[in-house]
């Protein structure tokens, strides 16, 4: 029997979107997550602060509608990924789920496919990374959705704090793109988005994809990187890409078949974690400094209202298209080709 102060650590792990479990198998362990109710409660804990941050944002800018719009985008994107993951796990595509009759490999009976899919969507939509099922054994489209959640930059709803600033950066991209269409200097909440501002936003948006794709390229061309893979073919690629995506976005969940306890993988993932956490923060703080120096402009006739359903739809679209397109080639070679085979 192994035991210890599990309960107190569990609360920290989930509410802090940290995700490091007391036991190796994390929230799949019956001592960490004994019942379907504790499963739902853990999901609530890991979502509560990121979603609350959007509401807090509305209060800080003294316009609750701005916060509600951000919250709506987070809820929409999370809802889509929960739906896709659940449908995928319940349908159980793939040869192994077909042989067994359902995708129960790497899942606990008490949670079932739906309870595991909900947890997987929530943990990758935030920067938690706790797991109650083995993600490596998720169905091909299910594992792909989990990966895509992290690639979005963990903005739906994201980590405690980091989710909000990630979403706000994309909100600025959205305002900027709309400004280009009508040929006006774009502004967000009365702050002008000029050249220096948009350069910082661009650096922010580019940092994580460069780390993820660069990291994947290094891992897949080095023999030490390939040595860690458990699977061959598209799922092997998915293992490597999932690892670098999880590290660069500070998620922490894994396709656990990958042997990452080697000097090569430890070094690569460690560097990605450091750079993936601190570089984006640097750009966000620099941008905040530039905005703080500006005076707030009153909204004019040409200002794009950022609290209407139109903006919610635009921002969701920008998140999916701008971020998604970056990763389409690598997703096509991994989870997508695996889903089709």
């Amino acid at each position: 029997m192994t035991g210890g102060p599990v309960a107190s650590q569990e609360a920290i792990k989930q509410i802090g979107t940290n995700g490091g479990g007391f036991y190796n198998v994390n929230s799949a362990h019956p001592f960490e997550n004994p019942t379907p109710f504790t499963n739902l409660f853990q999901i609530f804990l890991l979502l509560v602060i990121p979603f609350a941050m959007a509401w807090a944002f509305g209060l800080i800018v003294k316009d609750r509608r701005q916060g509600v719009a951000i919250l709506a985008v987070m809820a929409l994107l999370l809802g889509i990924s929960v739906a896709l993951l659940t449908v995928s796990e319940m349908a159980g595509p793939g040869t192994a789920p077909a042989a067994a009759g359902a995708a129960m490999e790497g899942k606990e009976v008490r949670f079932g496919e739906a309870g595991s899919a909900l947890f997987a969507a929530a943990t990758t939509g935030t920067s938690t990374g706790a797991v109650n099922a083995m993600h490596d054994s998720l169905t091909a489209p299910g594992g792909g959705v989990a990966m895509f959640n992290m690639m979005l930059g963990e903005i739906a709803p994201g980590g405690t704090g980091s989710g909000l600033y990630g979403m706000l950066m994309l909100a600025i991209v959205t305002v900027f793109l709309c400004g280009l269409m009508v040929g006006r200097t774009p502004e967000y909440l009365g702050k002008k988005i000029g050249q220096r501002e948009i350069i910082l936003v661009a650096l922010y948006v580019l940092t994580t994809p460069i780390l993820v794709l660069g990291g994947a390229a290094i891992a897949l061309t080095a023999s030490d990187g390939l040595a860690g893979l458990q699977e061959s073919g598209p799922h092997g690629l998915s293992e490597a890409v999932y690892a670098v995506t999880s590290a660069a976005n500070n998620n922490g969940s894994a396709f656990g078949g990958l042997t990452s306890g080697t000097p090569f993988w430890n070094t690569l993932l460690g560097v990605l974690m450091l750079a993936g956490r601190f570089l984006p923060m640097l750009f966000v703080l620099a941008l905040a400094g530039l905005f703080a120096r500006q005076r707030q402009l009153p909204p004019s006739a040409g200002t794009l209202p950022t609290h209407r359903p139109l903006f919610v739809a635009l921002l969701s679209g920008v998140a999916l298209v701008v971020v998604g397109l970056t990763y389409v080639p690598v997703l096509a070679l991994g989870p997508i080709v695996e889903s089709l085979s």
């Binding site: 029997m1 192994t2 035991g3 102060p5 309960a7 107190s8 650590q9 609360a11 036991y23 190796n24 198998v25 799949a28 362990h29 019956p30 001592f31 019942t35 379907p36 109710f37 499963n39 739902l40 595509p93 793939g94 040869t95 192994a96 789920p97 042989a99 067994a100 009759g101 359902a102 995708a103 129960m104 490999e105 790497g106 899942k107 606990e108 009976v109 008490r110 949670f111 079932g112 739906a114 309870g115 595991s116 797991v131 109650n132 083995m134 490596d136 054994s137 998720l138 169905t139 091909a140 458990q230 699977e231 073919g233 799922h235 998915s238 396709f255 656990g256 078949g257 695996e338 085979s341």
Partner: protein, 203 residues
């Protein structure tokens, strides 16, 4: 000089906060939670142990197992748990799910082998073997099986224990937990508690 002084003062304040918070959330908080758990829920805090009579106990020496942790048994007269990838099976010191991918040929082969084995052991067609009987759980410690897997084991267990199938079926129903609030999770049967009930009924 003034800047240096304020840097020193701010750093000192930060250091004091670090020490304070380390003591508070690093030591006092886990101790408090552990203390409250030991008083408010002593059975759960000690690992949900049960003895041979099915009673909740807190002393490890009295227990035959934990209601939350599955265990291997080679007794063919009892309900058997799911396959496990934790060490040699249900090893608490090496909890693990197989992590094999959904298209992995080795996994498909092991599922098919397990299916044939379960079907032969229980004397049922392979199409009656439920998914949880042939797949390894996430933790490797899954204490539960599906009602469907329990159902196909009833005949074998009843014959081995000299009980009627109806008696054993009633015991399975008694130890089946439904979905929490009607929606959360899946119906599941706790193997250890069921086996204890079966052995007591056979006595």
């Amino acid at each position: 000089m003034k800047d240096l002084y304020s840097l020193f003062r701010n750093s000192l304040a930060g250091l004091r906060l670090l020490v304070l918070m380390t003591l508070l959330v690093g030591l006092a908080y886990p101790l408090a939670v552990t203390g409250v758990a030991a008083v408010a829920a002593p059975w759960r805090a000690n690992g949900s142990l049960v003895d041979a009579a099915g009673q909740h106990v807190t002393d490890r020496d009295d227990a035959v197992g934990s209601a939350l942790i599955g265990q291997v048994t080679d007794d063919d007269g009892l309900f058997l748990p799911r396959p496990s990838a934790a060490g040699d099976g249900y090893d608490m010191l090496s909890t693990y799910g197989s992590n094999l991918g959904p298209l992995n040929p080795d996994l498909v082969a092991s599922i098919e082998a397990a299916k044939a084995e379960v079907a032969e052991r229980e004397g049922v067609p392979e199409s009656d073997v439920p998914p949880d009987a042939v797949t390894a759980s996430a933790s490797g410690l899954d204490p539960d099986i599906s009602p469907a897997y329990a159902a196909i084991q009833v005949a074998r267990v009843a014959a081995a224990q000299g009980l009627s199938e109806d008696t054993v079926r009633d015991l399975v129903a008694e130890h089946t937990s439904g979905r929490t609030l009607g929606v959360l999770g899946e119906p599941h049967v706790n193997v250890l508690e069921l086996n204890i009930a079966v052995l007591r009924a056979a006595d």
